[in-house]
Amino acid sequence: MHTFGYRANALLTFAITALAFICAIASFSDKFSNQNPSAEIQILNINRFKKQSHGNDEVSLTLDISADLQSLFTWNTKQVFVFVAAEYETPKNFLNQVSLWDAIIPAKEDAKFRIQVSNKYRFIDQGQNLRGKEFNLTLHWHVMPKTGKMFADKIVMPGYSLPDAYR
């Protein structure tokens, strides 16, 4: 503690260490929030179902997505990244996951929503396996904190299927 610089350095180091400590506790306090998100997806329409020129199947859908993710937001949440994926099995791959739509929810007020949208990303198979295929639609979310660990979870909704013939 001999000069200004010495004291300033000691203060700064201690201040940053204490800051790291309270951020860690803030992140840990997220464990005590109880979360019950809910979601529902309906397929309104299958717009197109064809075989591409290279030989892969492609589907275009219109989805009705309604979700209530408000309980995921805590004081330490910066934003929630949510996406919808279609999951199905083919003889070649045990699990195929194709992301159809995603969004960023920046605040708690926007976390309860219902939208009708066509798929943002193309639903293309590796092969021609989609005729009559049964698939699950899964709503995944990643909760991004202001400090600390990001955690992710999902809701699986089974029971959707594609028509047996191309349109």
Partner: protein, 92 residues
């Protein structure tokens, strides 16, 4: 600052920062606002800087007693002896 003052300043710094951190967390958690926590903590850091870094008079209450010049003359500095193979110590 004198030695006692330095010790006091260091202790004060640590205690003030700890209190600022605890108060910031508690208020931030209660109001569910991360921004509040950060603002209170930043305010605490600035306050601690103002209190502990400059040379306030309260840190100088036990000043060092330097020797009078007359005292110092009674004990002159030892003179450098020419280097020899025998080690001789002739200090007063």
């Amino acid at each position: 600052m004198d030695w006692q003052g330095q010790k006091l300043a260091e202790q004060l710094m640590q205690i003030l920062l700890l209190i600022a951190a605890v108060v910031a967390f508690v208020v931030g958690y209660a109001t569910e606002s991360f921004r509040t926590m950060m603002l209170i903590y930043a305010g605490g850091v600035v306050l601690t800087t103002l209190i502990t870094i400059p040379n306030w008079p309260c840190f100088n209450r036990h000043p060092l007693k330097w020797l009078d010049p007359s005292e110092a003359e009674k004990y002159p500095k030892p003179e450098v002896v020419a280097v020899s193979s025998k080690k001789k110590s002739s200090k007063k």
